[in-house]
Structure formats: structure tokens, C-alpha cells
Symmetry: none
Subunit: 122 residues, 4 copies
């Protein structure tokens, strides 16, 4: 699993967390499935086990994975997570729309424009 973009300015552990979160939300990683071991993933991405460890700890803290000591790290059930993530996305968009409104832009119009950009028809 290749999870690091070395040109990306964000910390490596954050990139790993982010990418795996996406894979879980996209159902590429199924609930209950075992994630690569800390050491394996570190080697595959030529990074340090501590860095992967930090990413996995963050995933667990956010509820995307759970750890079984001596066994490995596993993907959590995603139904609840999807709902949570959906709410977060709505809030992030709302936050941008609030700023748009402040500057006098038409929020609804901005939404339509964004939808066009992703090729999503209304």
C-alpha cells in the first residue's frame, strides 16, 4: 500500500491517516479486515515504524480502526463512521459558505458552481 506523497507538505503520519480513512469510507478496506502491520507499512513506504504507529493511533482515536494487542490493527465497522464523516463534510462546506456570505457572495450559486466542477448535475 503506497500512501505517501513526498511532495505533500503535510506530515507523513497525517497523510497516512487521511489516505486510510478514505480507503475505509470508500469500502476498499472492509470492516474487520486487518491493516498491514506497522513494520510492513513502514517498509513499504520507506518510513519509520514510529510514524506509522502514530498514524494508526490516530485512526483508532477517530474510531476508524481498533487494535488487538499481539494480533494487529483492524478496520472498524464503517456504517457509523460514514454517517459521522458525512456530517463533518456538511459542516466543512457550511463553514466555507459562511465565509462566502460574509464577503457578499451568493452561497447557493457558489454551491451550484462547485457541483458543476465535479461534474455533478443537480
Amino acid at each position: 500500500m503506497n500512501l505517501i506523497d513526498w511532495r505533500d507538505a503535510r506530515p507523513i503520519y497525517e497523510q497516512i491517516t487521511e489516505r486510510i480513512k478514505r480507503l475505509i469510507l470508500m469500502d476498499v478496506l472492509a470492516p474487520g479486515e486487518q491493516l498491514p502491520s506497522v513494520r510492513t507499512l513502514a517498509m513499504e513506504n520507506s518510513t519509520n515504524p514510529n510514524t506509522v504507529q502514530k498514524a494508526y493511533a490516530e485512526l483508532e482515536r477517530q474510531g476508524y480502526a481498533y487494535t488487538v494487542r499481539g494480533r494487529g490493527v483492524f478496520v472498524a465497522d464503517s456504517a457509523v463512521l460514514k454517517d459521522k464523516r458525512r456530517g463533518e463534510l456538511a459542516e466543512e462546506i457550511a463553514s466555507l459558505l459562511r465565509e462566502a456570505k460574509e464577503a457578499g457572495f451568493d452561497a447557493a450559486q457558489l454551491c451550484e458552481e462547485a457541483l458543476k466542477r465535479i461534474g455533478g448535475d443537480i
Copy 2:
């Protein structure tokens, strides 16, 4: 001008840049108006002049202000800036919608939800 939230995790210079950008886009700071001097703003916010300097440099880099040597820093014309910012916001929203789509959410529906959150009906 009070521009810093010490609880905010983001770097201080970034907060200052952000707040002043908003004030310009909201026309609170008019085009051509002089910004407070680096020293004044630093004192008012009990922070380091270097930090304010960095914020001002960033504002200039992004086109929100321009420096007149020996005179001070001034707010740029906002018409073009508004247009630019509008495009950025659209792109940021589009980016969130792309992720939403990846996870199987209905982008248009998410938009409507976000619009409701800001009390903006279509």
C-alpha cells in the same frame, strides 16, 4: 485591531493574514486604506513584529496589500481579489464534494444540507 485567538492551533502569522483577508473581502478595510504599522499591530496583539511582518508579506504575496517603502502597507483594490477568492472557495467546496462522492454520498444533497446550516434557503 485584535486579530489573534491564542487557543487556535494555527500559526499566529496565518491567523493575522486570514483575519485581514476577511476584513478586506468584507469591505471593512477599504481599498487604498493604510494598514496599521507592523509595530503597532504587534503591540496591540502582544506578539512579535517579525510575526506581523510575515503576515503582511503573505498578504502582499496574495495580492491583498501593497507596500510603499517608507510610507506603509495599503489595502489593494478588492474587485479582482473578490473574484479570485470566489473561485478559491468554489474549488475548496468542489474538493470536499469530490471526497463526498468517493464515499458514495449525494453531493447535491450535501450542498443543500450545508445551505440549511447557514440559514440560506435556495
Copy 3:
């Protein structure tokens, strides 16, 4: 006997010890009754026999079970154990109350609140 919650962060051997202790204190497992063999329990819980072995050793160390070589592991007399466990619980609660007091909370009031939570009126 299903004794493991894989989502639980605690070590598996500890979970097994804990659950069996509870079953003994609740008199579900009667004094003198034979516990499942290490192998059986390991298979039933799809875990390693070494893990179950460690749990049984811990139970024995704490006086909840005793081993008869070549025969198996048996539940100890519970009267004494119950008394001991009662004392431990009192001490654990006292310890929490001490911390509460340190922070300036009213210990007695906290107790009443906890009693309400378990639906136990005085």
C-alpha cells in the same frame, strides 16, 4: 463460553480472567465446578492456548481457582473470595472518592449520584 471482546483494548488474557472472576462471584460458576480445559476454551474463543493458560494461572494466583494435576482446573470456594472482592471494590471506590475530594467535589454527593445511575435508591 464466549469471553472475549476483540474491540476491548485490554489484553485478552486479562479479559478472560476478569470475565471468569465475575461468573464466579455471581455464582454462575459454582465452587468445585470444573472450568473448561485450556484447549477447549482456546478453541471456543479462537485464541491461543498460551493465552488461556495465562488467564487460568492468574485466576489461581488470585485464589479464584485451583489446579489438580492431570484432572483440570476447578472453581474455588467463593465465600472468602466474595469478601475479599468486596473489600477491593470498597477500596477502588474510596480511591476515586479521594481524587474527587482533592478536586473539591463533595464525595457523599458523588456517591448518591453514582447510586442513581445504577438505579439503586437508598
Copy 4:
């Protein structure tokens, strides 16, 4: 500040987190006060800066402190925290009482006993 008990089996970073939390709840560390720098605390306790860093990150995650980059780590306002901690304590006690009940003990009586142990009259 001496925060580590080397005989304590718990991880060092956890001990540090725990002790500082207590100091905050006891108002020994006042809201807004600066905590010792990562390096200073590490030296004082002859441990590694990374370990202190982990403790501080945990304190921040739990809302007991906030970080100002380049400045230091500061104690958060404690009013809300105290309330939160009070609720946690009540729940921890309730949980012990539930177990007690399972084993047939009188929960209210156990509470009184615990109160006596801390010298707290009803």
C-alpha cells in the same frame, strides 16, 4: 516539577498526563499558566522530550491544555473540565457499583464504607 514514579508500572507519558491533570483540577496550576517547556520537564524528570511531548499532546486532546506554537503549552480554563471530570468520576464509581450489585453486594452500603475509608462523614 517531579512527575514520575519509576516503580509505577504505567507508561511514563501516562503518569505525566495524569499528574498534571490532577494539578489542574486541584487549581495548583492556574488557567492560562504556562507549563514547563517540553525540554525542561524532560530534563527535570530525566526522561526524553518525546515522552513529555506525548503527554502534552494527550493533555491537549483531553482539553486540559492548549499549545501556542513557538511560545509554549498553557493550562486551559478549568471550570468546564472540572464538570467533565466530575461526570467521569461518577460514571467510574457507578461502574464499580454495577459489578458489586452483580455479585450480590449492597451498593449503598459499599458507598458508605468507601466514604468512611476517606474519612468523609455522610
